[in-house]
């Protein structure tokens, strides 16, 4: 198969400031109250699952320290895109996207002094989080049993790809592999084509953090009530299956594998993606209730379609779905997706823009709910950080600090948190423990 270009395309330049500075009504008010006044987390976190979990704590007031090393920086620090296209450990759009409100400690875990600092940090912490391949923490002597010796009521959250134990524990556990092994691509594609991966890539990375966070907050209460810490072992693989349960039960009970039917569903028609005016512009339309069908026909200026015997019931519309989609596409392709959304939503029909990155970046609903936090980053300057995924009325998430440069908080953590003297700090530096 030949591979075409033209799949990545540049659009008109729009600076981030334009979107960030546009005056927007915001859902979020600063109440001055925080969920976590006194929670401390030491994070040995890698790639995306770790940081996305930490966000649920850092954004609500917890002190979150990322233990990193420039000797083997996180893959998200060494991936393009870089600010101004200049590679640099503090310049990647990935790492900095989702690391707001966290501190960075650079520590050489292979040096004895570095490992000692890690242990002091653990003694200070309520929670240790990690998502390496099983074995990495244990190799450092930081498995759960060892952590308990350092801090008896520690809560350790491990989010390995396949869990701490099991035959797959050493498999590479990045999101593409996990999505495939959970079978997600089986649910995506056309009747005459093969399975397709989720477009956003490491899709499972978005799933596990929610489960881990809910369990961790519950475990904090259990600790406060009983004095007992614990090990929470989540397999990213398994949490992904929670998002697909009806399909799995269908196989158990009816011995049926998922089928690929494009965007069609049995219970609604029209229900599809339609082409709009402009290059790569699309809209969705879903008529989910019978009353919406005549409403749609009137809204698109074809009221006669509602009585057309090919389309007058859901059953007939499903039988003649190809012609139905052609009728609708002939209307949508003369319009922008925004026009389609406005006209049909005004008629009470579910319709929306198929938003690309630029559309999401500017989406007024997402902006006002705090999905993005424009902040000034130490090395990159103006940069939009990922914000919150929900709105709490009394203790909303707050953008307090930009993503950290590697080791940015070394001195603060060692002298102010761990109580080292200036001389001791300099000794650690000289010993190469803080790299």
């Amino acid at each position: 198969m030949t591979v075409g270009a033209n799949l990545v395309f540049a659009l008109v330049t729009k600076s981030w400031q334009e979107a960030g500075e546009r005056s927007q009504e915001s859902e979020v008010t600063d109440t001055g109250k925080k969920v976590f006044d006194d929670l401390k987390i030491a994070a040995f976190s890698w790639a995306m699952v770790g940081p996305l979990t930490l966000k649920f704590f850092a954004d609500y007031g917890a002190a979150v320290i990322r233990v990193e090393t420039s000797l083997r920086p996180c893959v998200t620090r060494t991936s393009a895109p870089y600010k101004d296209n200049i590679p640099g450990i503090n310049r990647s759009g990935y790492f900095n996207h989702f690391s707001a409100n966290m501190m960075s400690l650079s520590l050489n875990m292979k040096s004895p002094q570095g490992l000692d600092v890690a242990k002091e940090l653990i003694a200070w912490s309520d929670v240790v989080m990690e998502n390496f391949t099983p074995g990495v923490m244990d190799k450092w002597g930081l498995g759960f049993q060892e952590l308990k010796k350092i801090k008896p009521d520690i809560i350790m959250v491990r989010q390995n790809g396949f869990g701490v134990e099991g035959p797959y524990k050493n498999l590479a556990a990045f999101g593409m592999i996990l999505s495939a092994i959970a079978g997600i691509p089986n649910y995506i594609g056309w009747p005459d084509g093969g399975p397709l991966p989720v477009g956003v890539g490491a899709y499972t990375d978005s799933i596990s953090p929610r489960f881990a966070s809910a369990a961790l907050i519950a475990a904090l209460e259990y600790r406060d009530r009983t004095g007992k810490g614990q090990l929470i072992d989540l397999a990213q693989f398994e949490t992904a299956l929670y998002f697909l349960m009806p399909g799995l039960l269908d196989t158990c009970v009816n011995d049926r594998e998922p089928v690929r039917n494009g965007n069609a569903v049995e219970w609604a028609a029209p229900h599809n993606v339609y082409p709009c005016k402009g290059k790569e512009r699309w809209c969705t339309i879903a008529v989910t209730e019978e009353v919406q069908w005549p409403a749609l026909c009137s809204a698109v200026g074809k009221p006669w379609l509602a009585q057309d015997p090919r389309f007058d019931t859901l059953k007939r519309r499903k039988e003649n779905e190809k012609e139905l989609d052609e009728e609708i596409a002939s209307w949508t392709k003369e319009r922008t997706p925004e026009e389609v959304m406005n006209v049909l939503q005004a008629a009470g029909v579910a319709a929306g823009v198929v938003e690309n990155a630029s559309d999401v970046f500017e989406d007024p609903q997402l902006r006002r709910r705090g999905l993005f936090w424009p902040m000034e980053h130490g090395e990159m300057g103006a940069f939009t950080h990922l914000g919150t995924s929900m709105v709490l009325s009394e203790t909303p998430a707050q953008a307090e600090a930009p993503s950290p440069c590697i080791g940015e908080h070394n001195e603060y953590i060692l002298t102010k948190i761990l109580g080292k003297t200036d001389d001791e700090f300099v000794e650690l530096l000289a010993a190469g423990a803080l790299t």
């Binding site: 649910y187 519950a218 349960m245 011995d255 965007n263 599809n272 997402l366």
Partner: protein, 413 residues
Amino acid sequence: MRPSMLGGYRALDLTDERGFLCGKILAELGVDVIKVEKPGGDPARKIGPFWHDQADPEKSLYWFAYNSSKRGITLDLESVEGKSLFRGLVQTSDFVVESFDPGVLGKLGFGYRELRRIKKDIILTSITPFGQSGPYSRYKAADLTLMGMAGELFMTGDSDKPPVNISMPQACMHAGADAAVGSMLAHHHRRMTGEGQHVDVAMQHSAAWFLAQTIPHWEMENLILGRVGTFRTSSRGTLQRQVWPCRDGYIFFFMIGGQQGAKTGYQLVQWMEEEGMADEFLKGYKWEEFDMATATQELIDKISRPIAEFFLTRTKKEALDAAMSRNISICPLMGNRDLLEDPNLAARGFWKPIAHPHLRTTIPYPRQFARSSENDTETRFRAPRIGEHNTEVYRELGLSADRVEELKKQGVI
């Protein structure tokens, strides 16, 4: 039996399919979750697939999946009697989770302000398509609409075809899971201060939270990453395959190279060499030099050709075995039948058989989303039948058996 983390708390779950997952997560952490349905049953019981394809409200597998571990009652929230019963229930509860359109609960007399009057520190968690307010809050939406407006849909599919959605609804999953986190965040705050609050979760917003791989490209490079089907792309538009046909299905693999990915490259080539399928170029290739950001399309194609031919001669099982024994970053695309027999899930006891006496059968469910060294986090029991726990729950409220019968006759429950 081991204790649960959150034993002693109660949640009233008024959600439909938009919010089922929230209560399911709370229930498995130990909360007594009571699913409140309207008399006759929740319309979401009509969502398939069904047990042996029998479209019956007591046989929805969708319902089974996300309402297991919850008890179930029926209650008419529009009747005077029903409202009074609900007030009694709220007084005994710590969380109310709902997914009505914005304003509906308020019209029933149970908005956050009213609930707070009934129970001062109540936590109300609302799950809606777009949120409680804002320009889109009154918009109608199906999962397709929401995944489209969350930026996920645009990127999924073939480059020469329209975007294509994941056929298992996902926006409700992202939102349901976020709602569980939000409820727990609010609960932690309540534990510290005694103050409740309203958690506002939006399906579009929750589904859009994971665009780390697209938003920075737009902001920093003015690039909009489009659909590349079974490939992966770079900022320069080069493409490499990630889904490879094999003898009995598909293998997922892509080249990373560099310091981190070189090992997989060498191991794969060695495997190919042992099978006599590596060409001279691959045998001599220095994988440390491969970098997707700079690799030319010609180079990618040259590496890919023999790999594609090799994978065509392998099975899914061989790929998985090689991943484990040779430490290669590849994996097969699993089917659901594969998952039901998967050795890793089996070793961790992931499938838990749960009895459905009315269907005279037992169905395996995911046992737990997290294993705990201290607490019970398992799926506890099957989803409730319509009004199954009416007597139990209303008797707990102090109603007599006769009174419960009376309310049934009046159609309140």
